[in-house]
């Protein structure tokens, strides 16, 4: 099955980012396809490479980057939401790209299921 994923909350503050990542990994392991992960609202904070969690904690941003590298998952950050929150090309982590909201709608059209993670 083809999944589109929407992440609406920031890392570490809210479990949505963790749940979305774990869902993606589980879906890929079962042979499903992730059409796109779209980051919106505070979810755009998943994409900043300035993130430095304590050593003994999971690195949410690097985890996403690895997912993109290993599985070719398209990680898209909403440009309007990103600029509002200071996320720009120069502080974007690897594997992410900045684009418009049209990418979310397009993913919804292409996927069999769109799954939202957030409040």
């Amino acid at each position: 099955m083809k999944f589109a994923i929407l992440v609406n909350e920031g890392p570490y503050t809210h479990q949505a980012a963790d749940s979305a990542y774990l869902f993606c990994r589980a879906a890929l392991a079962k042979g499903h396809e992730i059409v796109r992960v779209f980051f919106y609202h505070d979810g755009v904070n998943n994409a900043t490479r300035l993130t430095e969690p304590p050593q003994d904690d999971r690195h949410i941003v690097n985890r996403w980057s690895r997912l993109a590298e290993e599985h070719g998952v398209d990680l898209v950050v909403c440009v309007a939401a990103a600029l509002r929150r200071g996320i720009r090309e120069e502080n974007l982590a690897s594997g992410f790209r900045i684009s418009g909201l049209g990418q979310l709608i397009e993913a919804g059209i292409q996927a069999d299921r769109t799954v939202t993670f957030g409040d």
């Binding site: 609406n8 919106y40 309007a80 909201l101 049209g102 979310l104 919804g108 059209i109």
Partner: protein, 123 residues
């Protein structure tokens, strides 16, 4: 999935208009979605019904009043706005208190509508 696919997209608005950014950013998605020629409808429930409550005044909190955008939805051919009856009643509101024409539906009817959708975004 071919280029010409038309899916049923529903946007569910559950949050008060100010206090968090969800309502404003949801509206931004809806406006972009209008350009994709999809089947679009909006639902307002819980505190989301306050998004349509006439007479927002935001000067005191120094936030932009985006209520005029709801009135512009018609220009984008977005005309299906559903409001949950129970949410209005719980807040002492009626459809007359709202800034745009809407269809008021029981919670169960909205549930049935949701079942018919291809994509449901909840903000």
């Amino acid at each position: 999935m071919s280029e010409g696919t038309i899916k049923k997209f529903m946007y569910v608005n559950r949050k008060a208009p100010y206090g968090t950014i969800y309502a404003l950013e949801s509206l931004e998605v809806v406006l972009i979605a209008a350009a994709f020629d999809q089947d679009v409808s909006l639902v307002f429930m819980d505190d989301g019904v306050y998004q349509l409550r006439k007479g927002h005044q935001t000067k005191g909190i120094e936030v932009k009043n985006f209520q005029p955008t709801y009135r512009a939805l018609e220009d984008y051919d977005i005309t299906r706005l559903y409001v949950e009856r129970e949410a209005l009643q719980a807040r002492g509101l009626t459809a007359d208190d709202l800034c745009v024409p809407v269809e008021v539906l029981e919670r169960a009817e909205i549930g049935r509508l949701m079942e018919q959708q291809d994509v449901v975004f909840s903000f």
